[in-house]
């Protein structure tokens, strides 16, 4: 006797099917269950989207900072600056210069972030 025949001939089967029918009527989920599940899903989806955006922004920031650092190192190592006729100030005296460059970088990153958010929201 195969599995399906065995199931059909199982004397317990009709009893369990009757229990199932009774339970379905008696143990119905409240109507709010569906709405609550969807509300939680929306919340989880929003959190996932925010996390994804934050990770994207972090990746862009790190990559930008890395590229800029690499460019600065390359310029200094290749000794290209004198040919431009301009001397990079040494750290103690040139703090204002570096602060200016850093500030400008942050400003550009901030602008990038704002533009990205606007484009994504649109």
């Amino acid at each position: 006797m195969n599995d399906s025949e065995e199931r059909l001939n199982d004397p317990l089967r009709p009893l369990f099917l009757q229990i199932k029918a009774e339970d379905e009527a008696a143990e119905a989920l409240p109507a709010s269950f569906r709405e609550e599940a969807l509300r939680r899903m929306r919340k989880a989806a929003a959190a996932r989207r925010r996390r994804s955006e934050a990770m994207g922004l972090l990746a862009v920031t790190v990559a930008s900072a890395g590229i800029m650092a690499l460019a600065v190192v390359a310029l200094l190592k290749a000794d290209l600056l004198p040919t431009a006729g301009w001397k990079v100030p040494e750290p103690p005296e040139g703090l204002a210069f570096y602060a200016c460059v850093g500030g400008l970088t942050l400003l550009l990153l901030l602008a990038d972030c704002v533009i990205r958010r606007r484009v994504m929201h649109d």
């Binding site: 599995d3 199931r7 199982d10 004397p11 317990l12 089967r13 009893l15 369990f16 099917l17 009757q18 229990i19 199932k20 009774e22 339970d23 379905e24 143990e27 119905a28 989920l29 409240p30 269950f33 569906r34 609550e36 599940a37 969807l38 939680r40 899903m41 929306r42 989880a44 989806a45 996932r48 989207r49």
Partner: protein, 185 residues
């Protein structure tokens, strides 16, 4: 709206799963509609309280949503969602009730003896089910009420197919004996 839900009912679970993984609320709602009652029923066999069962069912759907991306279709979607429901309920009840009665010690020793009330087979079967360890009750529920195959049950519970077969055989045999004895009282 009605036409959307009618159209959506025509597609298989995997279609909705793929859409819901991308954040489609309508597709996720369809999966909730299809499985909420079944998931709730399974959890109710494993936990004692209806409130706990409802909250755990909500947790199951959250886990489903978060893990939809990892569903590769190696088993059917229903088996996958039942596995999540089973594991969620088992984690919640592990400390309260024994999951399985060791087979060697006799799965059936925990069942009540022939009812003194006699007569009502359904009522007696219910009492017998309540006396089962939660894991055994879940196996019986999946087999009879959800029409799951032994392999499906093994996949859902994490037991070997032969272990599921042995448990099913012993529980069914004893239940049958008890029911028929009860009728003779």
């Amino acid at each position: 709206m009605a036409s959307i839900s009618i159209r959506m009912e025509m597609y298989p679970d995997t279609h909705y799963a793929a859409l819901a993984a991308g954040g489609d609320e309508g597709a996720f709602a369809c999966l909730v509609d299809r499985y909420s009652r079944k998931v709730h029923q399974l959890i109710l066999r494993l936990v004692d309280s209806r409130e706990d069962a409802e909250e755990l069912a909500q947790d199951v759907f959250m886990k489903v949503f978060r893990n939809l991306g990892s569903f590769k279709g190696e088993c059917s979607f229903s088996t996958w969602i039942f596995r999540i429901a089973y594991n969620t309920a088992i984690s919640a009840t592990r400390k309260k009730r024994p999951l399985f009665t060791p087979v060697d010690e006799g799965v059936m020793e925990c069942l009540p003896e022939v009812s003194e009330e006699g007569g009502d087979r359904i009522a007696y079967l219910r009492r017998a089910m309540e006396a089962l360890a939660s894991g055994d009750a879940a196996i019986i529920m999946l087999f009879y009420m959800e029409d799951r195959s032994v392999d499906d049950i093994a996949s859902i519970t994490g037991l070997s197919a032969s272990n599921v077969k042995t448990r099913l055989h012993r529980i069914r045999k004893r239940l049958f004996v008890l029911i028929t004895q009860n009728e003779g009282v």
